[in-house]
Symmetry: C2
Subunit: 171 residues, 2 copies
Amino acid sequence: MDQLEAHIRTIPDFPKPGIQFKDITPLVKNPVMLRLAVHQLIHPFVDQKLTAVVGMEARGFIFGSLAAWELGVGFVPLRKPGKLPYDVQSISYDLEYGSAQLEVHIDALGKNDRVLLIDDLIATGGTAAASCELIEKLGAEIAGCSFVIELDFLNGRDKLSKYWVHSLIHY
Amino acid sequence: MDQLEAHIRTIPDFPKPGIQFKDITPLVKNPVMLRLAVHQLIHPFVDQKLTAVVGMEARGFIFGSLAAWELGVGFVPLRKPGKLPYDVQSISYDLEYGSAQLEVHIDALGKNDRVLLIDDLIATGGTAAASCELIEKLGAEIAGCSFVIELDFLNGRDKLSKYWVHSLIHY
């Protein structure tokens, strides 16, 4: 087993029966492994003239802000509706049941920005694809998308076929 | 105006009339100012033999994980109910209207841990006090609490009188 994978805990039947939830809290609690994960997340993109890292609420805030820190660029949070206080651009997207929304401050990014999108996990890819679209609505360019975990059997990468996608641990 | 304060944006009447919301997104988007803020957050505590940093969902994940990274210790997230997948210890606390809950994984901290609590803002201190109590329920010790912003007129510090409290910007 890979060093990083040894610090991911699988929780059966969470949040509902049949789902094998990938718990990243043991990884985040281990500073040596966390450093390894963040450096692997950004490694392919370090020469991509990035201007910002974008991360999604809430676990994406952990890996996203650390990636931004190491790259020496700013961090831009994408949040659930009603959380960001200033004027927002928003996007709705379909979930397995119902729909969800993400928001970003309208002045968070613009046409001179080149962005790395970071999240802990890509499953069906719906949230990541909506996030990329939201970033592009502000005029910014996506340099790539980087995930700690990819659930290969859900083919989320297909929804991001326009983008450079990198992930560290595959299930 | 202080350098950091110049990167906090006040949004009137958010999330409801009469509240002057302190928006930290301009600070987080500026890598130089973010570095300054995180280093100031941890500076008083660097010799406190810390074993972990704890941060509250969701903005506390940004400053907390960066503080943990710079201190070379692990990060432990406190989350809203139903978000953490493994067995949790939880605490309820009163809000102005109604109540709220926070959870932590039962194996996240123990009696050998010495913890720095980090959040972006202390208002009435209810969330911070509940967080400290939750950490102590796991047997860990609080070395201190550090906040980017303190709303002095709400006297939140009074609820943390047992602890060493540090904050960077006062309103």
